[in-house]
């Protein structure tokens, strides 16, 4: 088996062109799936027998929360690849992930808090999942802050890669300690979605939204990656050719 396709991924001009060509293949399906999922979730799915129409925010909240973790994992894996094989493109992927992941985290926090108002009667509850989501946001902010602290891109890459890997080891510890802390201080939260089996008409739109958000992340990542590569390689000749062509 030949590995040239893999080695070519490490080449900035190749990845710049590839990311540009792949973007529509992810962006359009993402748009269609999100529209279909929203239609299914907001219009077709029946209201919840307890929460009425209020539960429908789950169609944005759950995929955002899911993506906030998935983007962090992607970022840490890309950072590790960059650190181990000294692959500049992998570092560019990790750097591009951080703002997207932070945005998904903010979306999950905001929708969770809006959901909390009708369900718990308060915008903020020190619920374990909201709390660990908030800590995750600080992990993203720390990663971006560390990157911004260095003038030299390569040092920023390698230092932030170490931080991303340390963070990924810590995320489960933080999650379980927060759950444990919370179970001592207050009764378990009201919400156990999924435990009483969701009917298919509610579940299908959720799965469609999950897939749509995943594709949306890939599309956003490809766009950001192109910008990141452009910025890093701005002195290179191929950029001049690519821009003037």
């Amino acid at each position: 088996m030949t590995w040239t396709w893999f080695h070519r991924l490490a080449s900035p001009p190749h990845i710049y062109g590839l990311a540009g060509r792949l973007t529509p293949w992810f962006a359009w399906p993402a748009a269609l799936l999100v529209i279909a999922g929203l239609w299914g979730g907001l219009v077709l799915a029946p209201p919840d027998y307890q929460q009425g129409d209020g539960f429908r925010i789950i169609y944005v909240h759950a995929p955002s929360a899911w993506m906030s973790l998935m983007v962090y994992t992607t970022m840490a894996v890309a950072a590790a690849v960059g650190l181990i094989w000294r692959m500049k493109v992998a570092h560019a992927v990790a750097a591009s992930c951080a703002p997207i992941g932070a945005s998904f985290t903010v979306a999950a926090l905001v929708t969770g808090s809006l959901w909390g108002q009708p369900m718990w009667g308060t915008y903020w509850q020190w619920d374990p999942r909201l709390t660990s989501e908030l800590i995750l946001l600080f992990l993203y902010l720390g990663y971006m802050g560390l990157r911004a602290g260095f003038d030299d891109v390569q040092r920023a890459d390698r230092a932030s890669a170490v931080l991303a890997i340390v963070g990924v080891v810590n995320v489960p510890i933080i999650h379980y300690s927060v759950t444990w802390w919370n179970s001592l201080h207050q009764a378990p939260s009201v919400m156990q979605l999924g435990k009483p089996k969701m009917p298919l008409s509610m579940l299908t739109p959720l799965l469609i939204m999950l897939l749509g958000f995943t594709l949306l992340f890939v599309a956003l990542l490809l766009v950001r990656l192109r910008a990141e590569v452009l910025n890093r390689e701005r002195a290179a000749n191929w950029i001049r050719e690519a821009v003037s062509a």
Binding site: L146, G149, F150, A159, I173, S177
Partner: protein
């Protein structure tokens, strides 16, 4: 010899570590002793985190209430917030001076394991800040209305927890070595990763004050400390090498 030269001659220097064929354990021991000696020649700096801890403790009666019954309720949180912030403050001194005068560079070039040398430095840091904090915490706790029977539990929880705090902090301190004005960034990186220690530590202190067994949270603190011993020096060494490039 001037007194200052005698001081320098009595301190095992980094070049001495590399020149003589010393074993890894001996090198680590020398690095530990060097840090302790240097610290005791700058006693003013040693006292700063302790004074800071005492001041944080003072804030709570002034801002909440002088009633001991109310203070007893917030005592675990007050003690741990103080300990966490004081240990964070002390982290600034962990690697900074050695990075400025080139000692870390000599450590990296010495042929000894940088991981072991940094672990020794972190142990010295704990002996100089974590342990004194643990010994001072009972006075703060008693002043906040904790009963005398809680003293062993409080000392144990802060002693074990501060091991974990020093180790987690060593990663943050090493990562921010190349960053100018790193104080706020260091807090942003270190605090989210330290939250599990805070949760279990405050829980242990709370149980100690109420007279219950603190074994469960103390074991969890010890588990985090052990995990820190195995992984944190590796990450710190990787971060120091990046800062030296």
């Amino acid at each position: 010899m001037r007194p200052a030269d005698q001081v320098l001659a009595s301190v095992p220097t980094a070049t001495a570590l590399g020149a003589a064929p010393v074993s890894g354990a001996a090198a680590a021991r020398l690095a530990l002793l060097r840090d302790l000696k240097l610290a005791f020649r700058k006693r003013g700096q040693l006292v700063q985190p302790l004074a800071f801890f005492a001041l944080v403790t003072l804030i709570f009666p002034l801002s909440i209430s002088p009633e001991l019954a109310r203070l007893r309720e917030v005592a675990p949180g007050a003690l741990w917030a103080g300990a966490l912030l004081a240990s964070l403050l002390a982290l600034e001194f962990l690697f900074r001076d050695d990075a400025y005068d080139g000692t870390l560079e000599q450590y990296a070039l010495s042929g000894q394991s940088l991981t072991a040398l940094l672990f020794a430095k972190t142990v010295a840091h704990w002996l100089l800040t974590g342990l004194p904090l643990a010994l001072m915490a009972p006075f703060a706790a008693l002043s906040l209305g904790a009963p005398g029977t809680a003293v062993p539990g409080i000392v144990a929880s802060i002693a074990v927890g501060s091991v974990a705090l020093s180790l987690i902090g060593s990663i943050g301190a090493a990562l921010t070595l190349g960053v100018k004005r790193s104080g706020a960034l260091l807090a942003l990186l270190t605090l989210p990763l330290s939250l599990p220690v805070l949760i279990f530590g405050a829980r242990a202190t709370e149980l100690a004050i109420s007279g219950a067994s603190i074994v469960a949270p103390l074991e969890l603190l010890a588990a985090i400390a052990v995990l820190g011993v195995t992984l944190a020096p590796l990450a710190a060494a990787a971060a120091v090498r990046i800062s030296l490039e």
